[in-house]
Every structure is written in structure tokens, then in C-alpha cells.
């Protein structure tokens, strides 16, 4: 995966939308208890949502209404990335929030203070 992690780990985090980090200790990742807890979390967090891959191979969870071509955008100050859909009459329609594994902790904001971002 682009984040250099094992696929199974990325998948576990994604279907539970990041909760293993907070709710499940990683020192028992192979135990039956871990998988039971993961299942319990995933049935809650993944319910009525769908997996997606973005143009760079990042794995994420999107609302059921997502479509291919929806744009992943990180609004300044926001907790989570959002999906926006270009509209024929201009502008975008908000298609909901999404989980993208690997960019949820401000990784893309790293260079923001260093003027490496293009502004226009």
C-alpha cells in the first residue's frame, strides 16, 4: 500500500474506520479476541458504506452514494476528508465524508507552513 503498511493492517483499519488505533490494542493483533472486536466494530462502522481505492492506491471507506470520479478534498481545519462531485452547472456537490487510510492524521498538511503548497 502507498503508506508502506501491510495490506491486512490497512484493510482492518479501513473497515473499522480507524477505530483499532483507539479501541483495540495492537499487541494482540493475531488473537481471536482482536478479530471478534474488529468484527463488532466493523459491523457498526462499515454498515451501509463501501470500500474504495483512489487514484494513488489509497484505500478508504465512502458513503453508499459515492461514485467513481468523486473528488477527495481536505478542507482546511476539517477533521475528515470529504467527497465532492463536480456539477455540470459549475462548482461541486458535497457527497459526504470519507475515511482514507494514511491521510487521516494531517499527513497531507505537513508542508503547509513551509510554503510548499501551491495557491491560486
Amino acid at each position: 500500500m502507498p503508506t508502506n503498511e501491510a495490506l491486512i493492517r490497512v484493510f482492518n483499519f479501513t473497515i473499522a474506520s480507524g477505530w483499532p488505533e483507539a479501541g483495540l490494542a495492537s499487541d494482540y493483533e493475531d488473537s481471536a479476541e482482536y478479530h471478534d472486536n474488529l468484527m463488532a466494530l466493523a459491523t457498526h462502522t462499515a454498515g451501509n458504506r463501501r470500500l474504495f481505492l483512489d487514484c494513488d492506491g489509497f484505500l478508504g471507506m465512502a458513503p453508499p452514494t459515492a461514485q467513481t470520479g468523486d473528488v477527495i478534498v481536505i478542507f482546511l481545519g476539517a477533521q475528515v476528508p470529504f467527497l465532492i462531485r463536480p456539477h455540470p452547472t459549475g462548482g461541486f456537490r458535497l457527497a459526504g465524508e470519507c475515511y482514507v487510510h494514511g491521510i487521516m492524521n494531517g499527513e497531507l498538511m505537513r508542508g503547509f507552513g513551509q510554503k510548499r503548497w501551491l495557491c491560486f
Binding site: 503508506t3 459491523t43 467513481t68 468523486d70 478542507f75 477533521q79 456537490r93 494531517g106
Partner: protein, 205 residues
């Protein structure tokens, strides 16, 4: 912040106008755009601006962003390293109250979508787990053991051919299995340190 004044209902407004005005007032009172996280399905699909939650419809899926005054947020995708919420610059067009203009980075777009997970287990999982038929651990079958080589063989399916564009997965990669040279997936992909375009005026309607 006292927002009760600005979300007071006015009997002459339409539902659309009232929802939009309330959404705008709530957005102005927070720094982390939690209101946008509350947008799910809508009964007023063609009437409400897409960024306004329809409060009359119950949630159908898990909400990622949480009000930080109540629960500690899990994520800070658009916040800086220290986790400080940066007040997002917003402008509005007085002639178009249904438009919301935000600043943000475009991180990519969706190329491949899976099926919708249909789960009815959420409420009943713990009941199921504690059901008498599952409580006796002797009656539960041991987890299947996999041969040690399984992991390596399976990983072959997931490697991309050098000339494959991502994502062609899994069908094309299965076909390409055993042909060509495999390379680490991250090598040719976006680095987390590369720069992205900051759009000053992404407007939502």
C-alpha cells in the same frame, strides 16, 4: 458561542431556507466543519443545497467527524501537526445563500468502488456472541490453520506488474500473476511529502 439567536425559527420561512440558515450559523460557530460530516441522505434531495444536512432523516451510516466539545475527535486530516484546528477561511456570496465557499486540498479521486456493506448485525452482535449456542467454547470449531507458504503465495496475487496503472485489481493482477517483474506498490505512487494544489474557492451548492 451563542447561536440560539441565529437558529431561531421563523414561521414564514420554507424548510429549505430554515435548514440552510441554521447550517450556515452552525458552520460559523465551529472550526472543524463537523456540520458537513452530518450530511447523509435527504428527503429534500433537489431542494436543499448538498452541504446542508436534512435533519428530518435518521442517520444510516457511521459518522467519522465528531463534535470536539463532546467527544475527543479521532481524526485531524485538515489540521496541522500540533492538532490545532485552523479556522478555515470562508467567504460567502450574499447573492447566493445556497453556496458555500471553502478552502481545501484536492487529494485525489475515486477510481474503484466496492459493494455496499449490508449489515444488520450492529444491534444484535453482542446478543449473538453471548447466545447459549456460542457460549460453550468447546462447541466452537477451532480456526482453520493455513499452511505456512500460504501467505507468500497469496501475496503474489496482489503485486502489480510494472506497466500496470493502479488500480487494476484484483482481476488484472490475477491474470498478470507470474509475468513480469513486481515492484513495491508505493514506489510509483504519490508520496505523502509531495505537494498538492490548494484551492482557495471550492464552492459547494
Amino acid at each position: 458561542m451563542d447561536i440560539t439567536k441565529s437558529i431561531e425559527l421563523n414561521g414564514e420561512e420554507t424548510t429549505k431556507d430554515a435548514y440552510t440558515r441554521m447550517a450556515r450559523a452552525l458552520l460559523a460557530s465551529e472550526t472543524d466543519l463537523i456540520l458537513l460530516s452530518m450530511v447523509q441522505e435527504s428527503n429534500l434531495e433537489n431542494e436543499l443545497p448538498s452541504w446542508v444536512p436534512d435533519w428530518s432523516v435518521p442517520y444510516r451510516w457511521h459518522q467519522l467527524g465528531v463534535p470536539s466539545g463532546i467527544i475527543a475527535p479521532l481524526f485531524r486530516a485538515g489540521q496541522d501537526k500540533k492538532g490545532e484546528a485552523m479556522r478555515p477561511p470562508r467567504t460567502s456570496n450574499p447573492n447566493r445563500p445556497d453556496q458555500l465557499i471553502l478552502r481545501g486540498f484536492v487529494a485525489g479521486d475515486i477510481r474503484w468502488l466496492g459493494e455496499v456493506f449490508v449489515t444488520g448485525l450492529t444491534a444484535n452482535y453482542y446478543q449473538w456472541q453471548n447466545h447459549p449456542s456460542h457460549r460453550n467454547s468447546d462447541s466452537r470449531a477451532p480456526p482453520p490453520t493455513l499452511p505456512e507458504s500460504w501467505g507468500e503465495k497469496d501475496a503474489q496475487h496482489l503485486r502489480l506488474n510494472e506497466h500496470d496503472s493502479f488500480p487494476k485489481w484484483p482481476r488484472n493482477n490475477m491474470a498478470a500473476r507470474g509475468t513480469g517483474r513486481s515492484y513495491p506498490i508505493h514506489a510509483n505512487q504519490r508520496s505523502l511529502d509531495s505537494s498538492f494544489q490548494l484551492h482557495d474557492r471550492l464552492w459547494l451548492a
